[in-house]
Amino acid sequence: MTIDQLLVYFFGACAMLGGVLMLVARHPMRVALALISCMLSLAGIYAMLGVHVVAVFQVLIYVGAVMVFMVYVIMLLDVRDPSFVRRYSRMLLPGVVLGALLAGALGVSAVRLGAPAIQPGASAAPSYLVQPFSVEFLREYWLHFELTSVLLVAAVVAAIAIIRTGRRSDG
């Protein structure tokens, strides 16, 4: 067992812990921190597996942009809220049971796969280094690249529209 494998284990355990903490933590800020730790652990796994480009962007986009935004909003809304005290909805028990069932059902379908093991960092043809990946990405997938820009424009307009509507309904 190499140190790489150990690290993948370790990060996997951390990610799992982060996920569980998200469900248990009372305050949204703690949930956000749990999520961030989970994401960072996942990024660690990707780095160990040699998928550097995903690891980099996981940190940059998810942790750097999305979660920072989230944390900012949480701080903005840091008021006493009943949902801080009673964190679970009525669906607690059925929800947990259903989640377990779902994980089980998905697991069953994958266990039967009988797939070959992957050697971390020793993967074959495609390169996940930033430069080759980017070249490949823009050569084959530039339609999607353009489409994401449309999507982002739409999202920005949507956000503006929502905020304007809210302002009007307040005033």
């Binding site: 009525r90 669906m91 929800g95 779902l102 059902a105 998905l106």
Partner: protein, 626 residues
């Protein structure tokens, strides 16, 4: 020129004109369009009949209006098919239809919704013609649903009255049950034969290689459709309630034309039923039961239109009895005679109601013959016709039905004959009861009403006279023989061959017996028997004589029948089973609807949970069965 298409489109033009412009253009215009176009359609039909006659006995006119759609390699045409069967139906629809339109100009004179009424009536004719002229079951089904819609609109015509709206809804829902059967049958036929053209369906079943679908199954499914439209047990409940609409509507839709659509359908698809003895058996049994039980109910009705409504149900039952024993032509014959006398009766009833200012209860009538003699005369002729008094129209068709019910080799039996004859006897009895109580007994009208009585205008009485004349002489036209190239007449059981004339006398005797009994009971009005028997029960039993007969009648005939019809049939059957199940079904769906609404709690988490249940359920199902 596409003659058949023109026949169908003329009433549609009337609907569009009256519906869109009627309100602006005034009553004269509405009347001219509303009556003129059906009459034109009638004339066009006559021309088509002439063409058909020139072409030979089993010829047919076929006219493709246009290619409607093609599904895969198959084309669906809107095609019209005109053979002798269609000819008879079309003549009835346009002929009687036109007469009723003319009648309506008088009956609906003062109604604010005059234009709308005629628009709906024309719309009905359009759909009815589509139904009988359509070559494919699909076109037929369009008409089938369309007449239901038009009927719904016309029943609810005076929509201020919630009871009428409810009646319309009841008709609509009951018919849906039947339609589901129709559609299933249609799909099965299409699936098995790859065609829905009715002539080709008949041919396919006559072919030496049997189609890959059970004729009995299809037959029963289509018959379910027919029971809905033609008000047979157990889907008959809507028809009496449908009488809430204007009387000419009852005459046209709920007596002369639409309700016979089921009979037409079975006769048209006789190819299926000839090869489906089980389905035919079902048809015959349902038919005769309906005929008998509806007649018992009619015995105790006091609303003039309700009596006629139940009598319609009963007569339709006789038609299905004929269909069930393979005498398709005879059934159509009865459709034809029934159209005349039942239209005449309904319109006569309309004239009575018109004269009395809306009174419908026969217990509050009487003595009208002097006041409205024309109505009385025509009503009497039609009553005699429906009762089967020779030589009026009803005698011929009914006699043949009963004969084939007994003697047909295609499922005839003594039991069918007995029940059918009993229905016939009861028919004669309650129809003459109606005649006595309405017209002949001393007047029981209130003073106000009495003052009001007046004969109807000529537009109404003229129509009555025409219809009465047709009810009188219509039977001399040998319709089953005319239709024989299309609709074979079943073979008669050998042992009975020589008794046909004997049974004619039996039929006449039955009719006269009914007449005599009714005369005896109701000659002097309602009070007879009932009142006396109630006041001096012992005395009149001791005195015997005629009172004893009363008692006997009361004990043997009236009471059990009343009990059967009132308790068992109306009470248990109608109210509890049919109404109950309809209402029960409605209540059930409403309750189910409430339950389902409660699932929609507004809780986001619950919605997500439902979705997860779905995902997990699907995964597990697929995994378990993979």
């Amino acid at each position: 020129m596409k003659l058949l298409t023109v026949i169908v489109l003329l009433p549609l033009a009337g609907f569009l004109l009256n519906g869109l412009l009627g309100r602006r253009l005034g009553r004269t215009f509405v009347s001219i369009v509303g009556c003129g176009l059906p009459i034109l359609a009638f004339l066009a039909t006559l021309k088509a009949v002439l063409l058909l006659q020139a072409a030979g006995p089993d010829a047919a006119l076929l006219e493709v209006a246009y290619r409607w759609a093609s599904f895969g390699d198959q084309g669906f045409d809107v095609a019209f098919y005109f053979d002798r069967l269609t000819a008879v139906m079309t003549l009835i629809i346009t002929g009687v239809g036109s007469l009723i339109h003319v009648y309506s100009t008088g009956y609906m004179k003062d109604d604010p919704g005059y234009a709308r009424y005629f628009a709906y009536l024309n719309l009905f004719l359009f759909f009815m013609l589509t139904l009988v002229l359509g070559r494919s079951l699909l076109v037929c089904f369009v008409g089938w649903e369309g007449v239901g819609l038009a009927s719904y609109l016309l029943i609810g015509f005076w929509f201020e009255d919630p009871a009428k709206a409810a009646a319309g809804k009841k008709a609509f829902i009951t018919n849906r049950v039947g339609d589901a059967g129709f559609l299933l049958g249609l799909f099965l036929l299409y699936w098995a034969l790859g065609t829905v053209n009715m002539d080709e369906i008949n041919a396919a079943f006559a072919a030496p290689v049997a189609p890959a679908v059970s004729a009995s199954l299809v037959g029963v499914l289509l018959f379910i459709g027919a029971t809905g439209k033609s008000a047979q047990i157990p889907l008959h409940v809507w028809l009496p309630d449908a009488m809430a609409g204007p009387t000419p509507v009852s005459a046209l839709i709920h007596a002369a034309t639409m309700v016979t659509a089921g009979v037409y359908l079975v006769a048209r698809l006789h190819g299926i039923y000839e090869h489906a003895p089980e389905a035919s058996q079902v048809v015959a049994v349902i038919g005769v039961l309906t005929a008998f039980f509806a007649a018992t109910i009619a015995l105790v009705q006091t609303d003039i239109k309700k009596v006629l409504a139940y009598s319609t149900v009963s007569q339709l039952g006789l038609m299905f009895l004929a269909l069930g024993v393979g005498a398709y032509g005879v059934a159509v014959f009865h459709v034809y005679t029934h159209a005349f006398f039942k239209a005449c009766l309904f319109l006569g009833a309309g004239s009575v109601i018109h004269a009395l200012g809306g009174e419908q209860d026969i217990r509050k009538m009487g003595g009208l013959w002097r006041r409205i003699p024309l109505t009385f005369g025509t009503f009497a002729v039609a009553t005699a016709a429906i009762a089967g008094i020779p030589p009026l129209a009803g005698f011929f068709s009914k006699d043949e039905i009963l004969w084939f019910a007994l003697a047909s080799q295609h499922g005839g039996s003594a039991a069918l004959w007995v029940l059918g004859s009993a229905a016939s006897l009861l028919t004669s009895f309650y129809m003459f009861r109606l005649l006595w109580l309405t017209f002949l007994t001393p007047s029981r009208m209130s003073h106000d009403t009495e003052h009001h009585v007046h004969e109807s205008p000529f537009s109404m009485t003229g129509v009555l006279i025409v219809l009465a004349a047709l009810s009188a002489i219509g039977g001399f036209f040998e319709l089953p023989h005319f239709l024989e190239p299309l609709l074979p007449i079943p073979a008669v059981a050998g042992s009975l061959e020589h008794y046909e004339h004997t049974f004619v006398f039996v039929a006449v005797a039955v009719a006269l017996l009914g007449l005599a009994a009714a005369t005896f009971m109701y000659r002097r009005g309602l009070a007879r028997g009932e009142a006396l028997a109630a006041r001096f029960p012992r005395l009149h039993r001791i005195l015997g004589g005629k009172y004893y007969i009363d008692e006997l009648y009361e004990a043997v005939l009236y009471r059990p029948l009343h009990w059967v019809s009132d308790r068992v049939f109306l009470g248990l059957g109608d109210r509890l089973l049919i109404d109950g199940s309809l209402h029960g079904l409605a209540a059930l769906t409403r309750r189910a609807s409430g339950r389902l609404s409660r699932v929609q709690t507004g809780q986001l988490q619950w919605y997500v949970a439902m979705a997860v249940i779905g995902v997990v359920g699907c995964l597990v199902w697929v995994w378990r069965h993979g």
